[in-house]
Symmetry: C2
Subunit: 205 residues, 2 copies
């Protein structure tokens, strides 16, 4: 009976091997170099083997996208030490932006690329667990801000989504290269400046 367990473990190991190769290709050369053939070649297996362990490319991209949320969580881990909810909210945005700009391809995969969502829809599982958890983390911080008397008269979910949209918009525009060629005084600093500007607005609440 130890055989079935070993088989299962070996299956899991090869799955991980594929994923590690995919991740390496992905982080080093971007998504366009992350092809099934490149992955297979990197681990000395055939193309067909990859399809034994993953239904299709979307499944691989979804797995990578999940790893990305693990990375984001570790970025967020320092927030535990920030007691004041407003301060934590501010720090959360900074860290989110930092993560996005330090892991551009990964960020794109997590929040822009359609593949991970397509994969979820294809598996009839309309629950985006990783996104849900992250949004909940933001939302609970905002809830604490509301409880502390900030943002009087505002609703939790729309307010939280507004914060998310703001930092996501900055990352997205920067990553998709929309900040260049718009005649900004300092294109490379605009995201930081704009977020600082937003924090100034927040001082009134």
């Amino acid at each position: 009976m130890g055989v079935a367990e070993r088989k299962a473990r070996e299956k899991e190991e090869l799955r991980d091997l594929i994923l590690r190769a995919a991740r390496k290709l992905f982080t080093e050369n971007g998504i366009e170099q992350t092809t099934i053939r490149n992955i297979a070649e990197a681990i000395d297996y055939s193309v067909g083997t990859v399809y034994v362990y993953f239904r299709n490319k979307d499944a691989i991209l979804h797995a990578l996208h999940s790893q990305g949320f693990g990375m984001l969580a570790s970025y967020f881990s320092v927030l535990a030490s920030v007691a004041d909810p407003m301060e934590r909210l501010r720090a959360m945005g900074r860290i989110y932006i930092k993560f996005g700009l330090e892991n551009r391809d990964m960020y794109e995969l997590m929040f822009s690329t359609k593949a991970p969502m397509t994969f979820l829809c294809a598996t009839d599982q309309p629950e985006w667990d990783e996104g849900k958890a992250t949004f909940t983390a933001l939302s609970s911080t905002v809830a604490q801000c509301l409880e502390a008397g900030h943002f009087a008269g505002h609703s939790l979910q729309p307010l939280s989504f507004m914060f998310w949209s703001l930092v996501h918009g900055m990352c997205s525009l920067e990553i998709s290269q929309r900040t260049q060629g718009v005649n900004l005084t300092d294109p490379s600093a605009i995201v930081d400046q704009a977020y600082t500007e937003f924090l100034k607005l927040l001082d009134h609440f």
Copy 2:
């Protein structure tokens, strides 16, 4: 001497024909159905002919992206009648969102897809005229708000970019299907609700 002129006109006409077919395929079936072969087939020309009039696919997508900015400008045209800069700023955001959600594929092409920017870089023309014009339109409205005494102590460019990021973030998250599966009370209304929430924040400035 009329020959050269007619030739030039015919060349322009075929170019437009290609572009119209591309646009039709694009708006009706999305970007994935807009292939060179589909375009060529739609106008009863061969694949090679398309490449006589456009360097590559990025060039076609860039031309479509430019048309998108024309559409956005016509959405914005009603803003001319709004005298108060703050009110115009608010309306601008609403219209921007409306445009984005009513023309999702086009919006993606204009503000997310890399192709149009790649095309610009390839032609050694680092000026994104369409984006520049649109950002300037926003920026000048924000400038008028500043002159009217709003947003005291804030800087023009970062503040403008912050507004842009906010509405872009909402459109982007919605279009890339990140608002579904996050356990929102009303996913379909979250963008409107969040923007309304933002307008409430603006009331203090």
